[in-house]
Amino acid sequence: MALSTSDAPAAPVLAPSAAGVTLPAGELKPAEYMRLARALRESRNPSLRAMRVAVLSSHTLGIVEPFVSVEGAREGMAVECYFGAFGQFEQELADPSSGVHRFDPTALVIALRPEDVDPDAVVRYHATGGKRFEALADELCTRLGGCVALFRERSSAPVFIANFAEPSILPLGIFDAGTTSLTAALARANDRLRQIAAAHSGVVIWDYAGLVRSRGSAEWTDARLWSLGRIAVAATHQPALARHLARTIASATRAAAKCLVLDLDNTLWGGVIGDDGMEGIALGDDHPGSAFKAFQRRVLSLMDRGILIALASKNDLDVVERVFREHPEMLIKWEHLAAVRINWSPKSINLREIADELNIGSDALVLFDDNPVERAEVRANAPEVGVIEVPADPLGYERALADASYFDQTSLSSEDRARSDSYQQERRRREFGQRFESVDEFLRGLEMVVEIGTASPSTMGRIAQLVAKTNQFNLTTRRHSEAQIAAMARRSDGRVAYLRLTDRFGDQGLVAVAILLRRGNDAAIDTLVMSCRVMNRRVEDALMAYLVGEARAMGCRSVVGDFLPTKKNGMVREFYPRFGFTRVAEEEGVTRYALDLRTATVEWPAVIQRSGTP
């Protein structure tokens, strides 16, 4: 899901230092958080994305505000918080003049703990054989669903619902793991929360339970803070909570990075291949090679999520390729790599080349390199690239990769999972293309079939994702949230259309989205985005032919489209003129084009077949 902020950055800003506030890496003392939070508030750093976060909770969370400010800034956001009085959910959300609505949040967090609402249902779980807790879970789920609906009447901002964490003391003590346990009942309640999130657009589960589990439930609450001010989070865990929340909100409102670029020596294996040779490098099941093997497995788990894997290393290509092909302990294979730069050029140059080759922005790259000098070179010469701070001990590599927020995805679509396959298909397509004399002959040979349809619940997630993430083939770069897109799809005078492409090499998935809205006698193209990997295949011609047909069916006299230039969408500057649109206005950098339907049309491209819509 995405949010309607301006051009969302692909990578978090880990150490913004504009306007005089430098955020040190690593752990900070509480007093330093307070000082930095104040400095951030006063500096109003314009390079940070403004976020107004409203928090409604059943326990006091206001105390974490300075921590959220600092951790938000580490994720590239200038966070302003509003905390509702604890326990006031429906009142705040129903009343249009309430604090939360006056605050006009860009994100809403609802953190409800069952034990705050009915302590007996939790602590004395077995007094009713769990029935009272089940009733409470029912009530809470209904209330949360109702809260989302109330909020949606006035706002399409994303909503984050905290799931239910295990309390520090469990009713069955150390045996609270069986079928009749509170632990099992909490897991069932969290399943229901997932369903509520899935049923509403723009609702994300904030994994509060996972946070408490990873930090340890026993010390999560400090009895002093609880008794003094109904504060459920111990001071020692407040920075971690703020970091977790900031990461969650940031990731839901920006595009995730797309490619992990890896160094080789002392990153994927121990030692230097050029000096130590195939037999000399450390990689396998025993220490120290085990740390590298474990790291490789972790890298592949990112590939499973659709993140591309690339290499940038100062080495000899033949030697390196042989390790990937022949070393029995290598988990990452040569075929897994989307791009390879093995040479003696500076890393920053190699990284930009990799971005070009993969047709993604270099700000969608993240470097993992054990060498601090290389990291510094990239930070200096390609500052848009994400750079992970790598610990000296390889045993810490897995954790460093997991703790970096660059690849955080709120949800995983089937397109994400298939992406690395599709890059392999793309290599085969390129080889296929070399056999043809003319472009048209090649395109016919691809046997392309497109399906065009209007948004449905099953396609909405991917549609919203494309709208949120597409930077280059994007005419207007309007970052509509999933909720906003759903609202447009419901309009009778609008169309949210998607295009799915299949060819002889496989299914390319849902690769383009267009939003057409009626404005008087015009059909206005509000949004038109397409994945760059299907460029130059006349797919956009098919989409335009469809839109023109729809505009005609709506009884419109012309189709109107805007081009809003950004740093990245130069490739579509001449998009509308190509289809015979004429320039009708230019205002504040926005160029408006129109196609008069009485005199002009756009033909369906002969090299593409259209399949029936399901």
């Binding site: 509480p30 007093a31 000082r35 001010g229 001071a235 020692t236």
Partner: protein, 82 residues
Amino acid sequence: MSFDERLRLVFASVLGIDASTLTDDDSSQTIAEWDSLTHLNLIFALEAEFGVRFEAEEIPELMSVRAMRQRIPREIDGAQYV
């Protein structure tokens, strides 16, 4: 840094005041920023800075610089800091 400097730095960071203006007579009565939530931030910032631990019943009592200055060294290595 001396005990006094560290103490002043925590107060200045949490309350957003000039460390040099702070006196032992300052309290939640004299410093507007020192409200009940900030008081808790102050308490836990001091715990983290000096490795001390305050009991629940004394937290609401430590409402002045003097009270905290007298309280903290009892737990840390007094000879070194006072």
